[in-house]
Symmetry: D2
Subunit: 336 residues, 4 copies
């Protein structure tokens, strides 16, 4: 039984808190939030204790691991504190918006390794996992092309977009992690282009809401990603892998399996309303997988801190390509 201390009792903190309570492998031991009321409410719901400070959490001897779901600018410090306290960490993405700070934390973790899982919970979506297993088993042969589609049903608030680092760092980053995980290798070059089709304010904020990228792998394989900040039909996320011997796809997931036949049409249930409704089950699966790894189960390929850095460096290159209007080589920094 892994006893978790949770940092952050906002929306995603509440999700993690409930999952830690529900997962048979884990227990919600502490909640900390700068908003003490939110911390008390969440802790109360699941019989957890409220921590008065960050220090209290790391000093406690009934904490086996921490989950960082607080605001982005606190991630690096909490990661650093956890590394020093030798506590395993489940950390929401991103590591930090400042790449120098990211590298410092990755270096620190490299020098004093503790298990750190980045919250790329999409890796635990059953559809995506089955797709990856098919690819890794060689069932479609050598990977030649990948397609990833990531379309939110509605944009986040403009205020959020302005501080989000832009579409690639905020939204596409999940796809960057997925493509490396599925392909079993990291791309070497990226071409990114996009526009703001939805809202001129997004352009004014220096961002795009509609974008396409082509990424190249060293062996010539190609990957295409398309992103949108809105759709007229719910949340749409898919992966297609084209190999030398076949194709595998993680398809759109319908809400229900109900169809009406009327006139010359068939009307089926469509997509989940938003990314959270679609991806909700993978959050619990992610917690369970990390806990299983901490309990010593082998073969669990959870996303590491270095995976988080890798995805972020692809995002940096994509941002550069968008600005320069041409393909950009991706540089992967490694801790030394």
């Amino acid at each position: 039984m892994i006893r978790f201390a949770l940092f952050g009792a906002g929306f995603i903190g509440q999700v993690h808190g409930a999952n830690i309570a529900a997962c048979p492998r884990t227990k919600l031991q502490y909640v900390f939030d700068v908003n003490a009321e939110a911390a008390h409410k969440l802790a109360g719901r699941f019989g957890a204790k409220v921590a008065g400070s960050v220090e209290e959490v790391f000093a406690a001897d009934d904490v086996d691991a921490v989950l960082i779901a607080s605001s982005t600018n606190t991630h690096a410090d909490l990661l650093s504190a956890a590394i020093k306290a030798r506590k395993p960490v489940y950390c929401e993405k991103p590591i930090d918006m400042d790449l120098a700070r990211v590298k410092a934390v990755v270096q620190e973790a490299h020098d004093n390794p503790v298990p750190i899982m980045m919250g790329f919970s999409r890796r635990f979506d059953p559809n995506h996992r089955a797709l990856r297993q098919t690819v890794q088993a060689g069932e479609v042969g050598v990977v030649e092309m990948l397609h990833l589609v990531c379309r939110s049903s509605a944009p986040p608030p403009l205020a959020y977009i302005k501080v989000s680092g832009g579409q690639f760092r905020d939204q596409t980053i999940h796809m960057f992690d997925l493509l490396c995980w599925v392909a079993g290798q990291a791309p070497v070059e990226v071409y990114a282009t996009g526009a703001s089709m939805m809202d001129p304010a997004i352009t004014e904020a220096g961002d795009v809401d509609t974008s396409m990228l082509i990424l190249k792998f060293a062996d010539g394989a190609l990957c295409h990603i398309d992103n949108s900040r809105h759709t007229g039909y719910g949340y749409d996320e898919r992966i297609e892998v084209f190999g030398s011997e076949g194709l595998v796809e993680s398809r759109r997931k319908p809400i229900r399996d109900v169809a009406i036949y009327k006139g010359d049409k068939v009307i089926e249930d469509g997509m989940y309303a938003g990314w959270f409704e679609r991806m909700e089950p993978s959050f619990l699966l992610a917690i369970d997988a990390f806990a299983a790894a901490l309990e010593g189960e082998t073969g669990i390929d959870y996303p590491t801190l270095q995976d988080g850095l890798r995805a972020q460096m692809i995002a940096e290159a994509a941002v550069a390509s968008l600005k320069q209007g041409k393909p950009v080589q991706i540089e992967y920094w490694q801790p030394g």
Copy 2:
């Protein structure tokens, strides 16, 4: 090259005429119809000759086979004439409405065999054929249950219904042939029930427009058929075979493969408007198969005159069951 004489230049005669002309194995040599104008029009379109009489057709030395697509009450006489003239026949169903006359023709064909194919063209539908091949290859194990759905998009005119012999003899008869062909055996008992849900005039005409049947095989396997004379969504014909090791289905066939995602729905293209639009390609495939068999190709399981009789006897038992309100044993008469 099989040279065909065609009896009947009505709707279904025109379909057969065009297919005989288009099929590389066959040639439309003569057309006969009591409506000479219709015969001339059809013959002219494909460079065929118009026969002045039935006798002229059977006397001609440039006729290799005949296709009977004239009105039902002429089938038995034309079959008899063809048997006497030693001409292979493709005959539209049914053989005749009078079972005594049917038996007489079957006996005559038994005594003087010529190749006779009944126009159960659904056997040549590519979906149904692939389903049967799967069943016959044992891929789903021992057949335990079959389902056949046969729903017309709109009823024929009431005048036709009145002389059609009723839903089982007119519509379900195709399913009776299909189920024997797919299962590789004939049922021994039938329970039929139904109602007129659409139009009270159909009840007054002594018929039903909505019906369900359960047929039993000697080994305990069960078959369900449902029939309707109308739908709100086009023509719906399907077969499902449930075996001890799996299931195979010949699914609904959509008009096109186009889908619109909008709101919380997916709108796909639906069914073909009517049975003819859905089944049209199988008519040419049926002609081609019969011609191939006449040319000596082996392994072509075209529906025979005896298959036509078998389907008709199942229909008779179904009619009896409907009247009696209880299951009825099916009697299969054999020529001796």
Copy 3:
């Protein structure tokens, strides 16, 4: 917050116990089982108390409702005790195997009404609910035909089959409830037929494992049900409603949405392994719905004790039809 006492800590009792604990509207207060160890284990997992006797439960003042998941022969007595104690009940099906006892309890509940929900949890399956809503909203017009498919992936142990009351009372009963609920009316006649295709021991036990039924409604509408105790492809449950203006279907539910294209085939994920894997989410939804009704929410159409009796009387008629080999009128007893 509805505080539940749970009778029965076997497989289905554990499912209900976990759901009562997880549902925000309910709390697991007591567990009782003749197997005290099982009761302690289940209670301990969710912080509930163990009751020493049935009487203790009904005497307790911190119990708002009871859930009966103990063995079938205890249902009637526990229902009776709950009625006397004025406690709402969620009762697993069936009420009792003895129809006289069933009627006595229904009469008692009629005379001293408390909310009683029968555990027909399939009504809470999201697919089936959406189908019913479509039908009730008139989107497919007047209901003319229904199809229900209920095929278990593997048979229960023969020992269970022998005391189960047979396929119709044990398995098909869920379909009998669903069809009344979906159609908004109860059938008046049933024809049932079947065989043991799987295992001769089932025949010897006087039961069938493969069966088909046709049920008739007063307005002429027809319903077909097919049942199997095994499949080669997982659990298969579907409903199709054919109306005068269209068709709606609650389709098979696939495990995942992943497809492999290879050669001339597409290989998709298939069905859930068993009925429980398929129906698991509906158990929590059922508890939640009953709790909502107890909290005063209106418009919740949970299955009542009388619905349980209705399904059972259809099953009795089906058993009679199977024995007699002909259609049987269904008699609906009403408490007076």
Copy 4:
């Protein structure tokens, strides 16, 4: 009835010849091929005359239109001859491999207009047409992203690839026409990248077999195309249009609608074996549409000579982008 003279009796000439014979609006009057035997064989099959020379065709007074299906290097001269003879032309793509020659012919046609249809027969595929109609009707709102997939099941012979002008001019050109036709506008910029994943000989020939392109429209909309010269699963061609209010897709087309459920898998029929099997019906529809336009029917948006030039100029820009490794502006030359 439009009387056609056909140039070219090779594979694609035979397809067109049979379709001209089968289409009720058209008649195959003459066949010309430098291989006289091939011309005789094709003409004989459909009762057409064999022309002794190109001049004979253009001098004949029983020719209403010509179809150019001869080798690519003859297209420009035959187009020029047809323009001079005032004969409508259906011309297989491309116009010519030499852009200067292409411009000269387009200028000539501009100065002396006759109806000229380029053989982009995919426009007549029923799936693609329905998709375009949906887009043009505004059902998905403003077009924001398009995806086109074009994957051949097997590469053409290397000898053909060497003279084909490369993947973009030979294969992707169909997608260039489709995307302009569907979007209702032409792209302004293209980025193309690719590799030879299949066969190093293709790299040596200066070509790619696996490629991805991103095209931009003036309003910011983006289009992605992926191409492959081989697949492990038949021919794969799809279009997806993502608009501000929804999505429409012209999906993969399965061979049949048959599915086997076995174990935990569903095995469905896959894709057509090759592009021709998949696209065959659109050839007849293309001939019929052109004939209808010649007969005066309005609203038929057949691909014109200028559309052929447009697609070719996009291909030229794509080739330039591939070589330069960066996005290239597309220049559209117009006859003056």
